[in-house]
């Protein structure tokens, strides 16, 4: 196939996946959150179950005026949502949904995901500073301090997986989890990493990912009660929508990465290899759905952490535990 055509198709598929999954996640959060709080949530839009509520919200945002404060640094202010959005979409480019169903099969897949997700911090800081608003600036600073702190346990949790799988390719990590571990009664048993020594790493990754997403209980950067909306305060219209969609796309993105690293990705037990490309996306989708639900569940269950509690959780608990985890995994790898 023509390389440009292939590239075009890949880009369109990734964009559609990102947008649709973000809209679905928004809907699930509206509905699941409502039911967790014993209320009904969106009800009328779309005729039934309020299924069109995210679309209606989107249309509402799009027809609002795209304002920039008079004293804002125009170009930086306008560029910031693109940086955040790019970082969210970029993650999807390397996540495999099947042995051949991957945007780009990079040898350094995990590393790419970590690098591109780190760029979101830059967008947040750009938004915070360029808005020329004290709430925005404080929100941006809090976000940066938090994202940097939680990036370290996130990376260390990934390092342990990379050591166990002996590769940084996401496809390779999935294959390592599909490799036969032992044979039981004539059946080849393969287990995902979460069951073969990475349960601590999975916990660290999930906590750090929720913090990277700046979601409750780690939403100090946009704490409404004290900072109005933090770095998002001045944004409206389409640019706010981009931040919003980027946030929900990142939830799906981090869930997909976690599913790939710890839960076996597109692989499922007893799934014949010939079906991997057809059934793979659905297997991955099921795992992602569970993780997205857990992240939403966390949001409606825990209260917000205080800034010092948040920092001490990262530096005094997660990072030491993650370091010990890396040491233990490496030791097992060398000894056995």
């Amino acid at each position: 196939m023509n390389a440009w055509l292939e590239l075009g198709i890949t880009l369109v598929v990734i964009l559609v996946v990102v947008l649709v999954s973000a809209l679905v996640t928004i809907y699930v959060e509206l509905k699941a959150g409502s039911h967790m709080q014993a209320r009904i949530g969106p009800y009328y839009a779309g005729g039934r179950w309020g299924w069109a509520q995210p679309l209606a919200d989107g249309a509402k945002f799009l027809q609002k005026e795209d304002l920039a404060p008079a004293k804002a640094d125009g170009p930086v202010y306008r560029l910031a949502p693109y940086v955040v959005m790019m970082s969210a979409i970029g993650m999807f480019a390397v996540i495999p949904a099947g042995p051949d169903l991957v945007g780009v099969d990079l040898d350094l897949g995990v590393y790419f995901v970590l690098a591109i997700s780190a760029l979101a911090t830059l967008g947040v800081l750009m938004a915070g500073w360029s808005s020329a608003n004290k709430y925005s600036l404080i929100g941006g600073l809090r976000a940066a301090a938090q994202l940097i702190a939680y990036e370290i346990p996130l990376i260390l949790a990934v390092v342990a997986v990379v050591i166990q799988a002996e590769t940084m390719s996401l496809n390779g990590i999935v294959e390592a989890q599909m490799a036969t571990l032992f044979t039981l009664g004539g059946m080849d048993i393969a287990l995902p990493f979460i069951l073969t020594g990475q349960i601590v790493g999975f916990g660290i990754f999930l906590v750090a990912a929720v913090a990277e997403l700046s979601r409750i209980p780690f939403d100090m950067p946009i704490a409404e009660s004290e900072l109005t909306m933090g770095y998002l305060t001045e944004y409206s219209g389409i640019r706010f929508t981009m931040f919003f969609l980027g946030e929900y796309a990142s939830i799906v993105g981090f869930s997909a990465v976690a599913a790939t690293l710890f839960l076996g990705g597109y692989g499922a037990p007893f799934l014949p290899e010939s079906l991997a490309n057809i059934a793979g996306p659905f297997v991955l989708l099921a795992k992602v759905a569970v993780l997205v639900f857990v992240i939403i569940w966390i949001r409606f269950t825990w209260p917000r952490l205080r800034e010092d509690q948040l920092q001490s959780l990262a530096w005094r608990w997660l990072i030491p535990i993650a370091l010990v985890n890396v040491g233990v995994v490496a030791t097992f790898k060398v000894v056995f």
């Binding site: 590393y111 760029l119 911090t121 800081l125």
Partner: protein, 190 residues
């Protein structure tokens, strides 16, 4: 130089797609680097530095050194630049576009001189190492090779570099920490 001019005519140079990619990356990189030092606004200067670093990362990618390229993104753009920005914002950057930097005459001259010397040294090193020979097509560098070099042949330098970071960390704590908490002086040295 004459030999080079004959072998690579300008028209031929532009016929290669790879050279266009090179230009597409190199020109924004140079522009970003230039605006980093000429920009009047310190936060914008840092953001132009991001452009320059992103160009550098892309350059590593087209040279087949994907690991180094991604490391530039992760470490420099993802961490060092963020720390720059935090430092600037916490201390003195006025909000919005008002910040102005002073470009003194002495500072400009010494910076230009230093840049020129650095440029000359790099040019000399490159010319000395490669001369007129054309670089042969090469395989992308495997990350495993880098790891084997780092953790085998260059293990001790690698570990010593981390000691530098440790020293910087301790220095930072010593500078920032004030033991006279009992005296209760709001504002401190500010």
């Amino acid at each position: 130089m004459p030999a080079l001019m004959e072998s690579v005519a300008i028209a031929d140079w532009f016929r290669e797609a790879a050279n266009w990619v090179f230009l597409l990356i190199a020109l924004p990189t140079v522009f970003g680097a230039w605006r980093t030092v000429s920009s009047n606004n310190i936060v914008r200067a840092v953001l132009y530095l991001v452009v320059a670093l992103a160009g550098t990362a892309a350059m590593f990618l087209i040279l087949g050194a994907a690991f180094i390229g991604l490391t530039v993104v992760l470490v420099y753009i993802g961490a060092v630049i963020i720390l720059f920005l935090i430092g600037i914002m916490i201390t003195r950057a006025p909000l919005g576009v008002e910040a102005k930097l002073s470009h003194g005459r002495e500072a400009r001259l010494s910076a230009a001189l230093l840049s020129f010397i650095l440029f000359a040294v790099i040019m000399w090193a490159v010319a000395d190492a490669f001369g007129m020979s054309k670089i042969q097509p090469f395989e992308p560098t495997a990350t495993a090779d880098i790891a084997n070099l780092l953790f085998d042949r260059f293990l001790i330098p690698f570990e010593v570099v981390s000691l530098v970071l440790l020293a910087a960390l301790i220095g930072g704590i010593v500078l920032a920490r004030r033991d006279d908490i009992g005296r209760d002086e709001p504002g401190g040295e500010g």
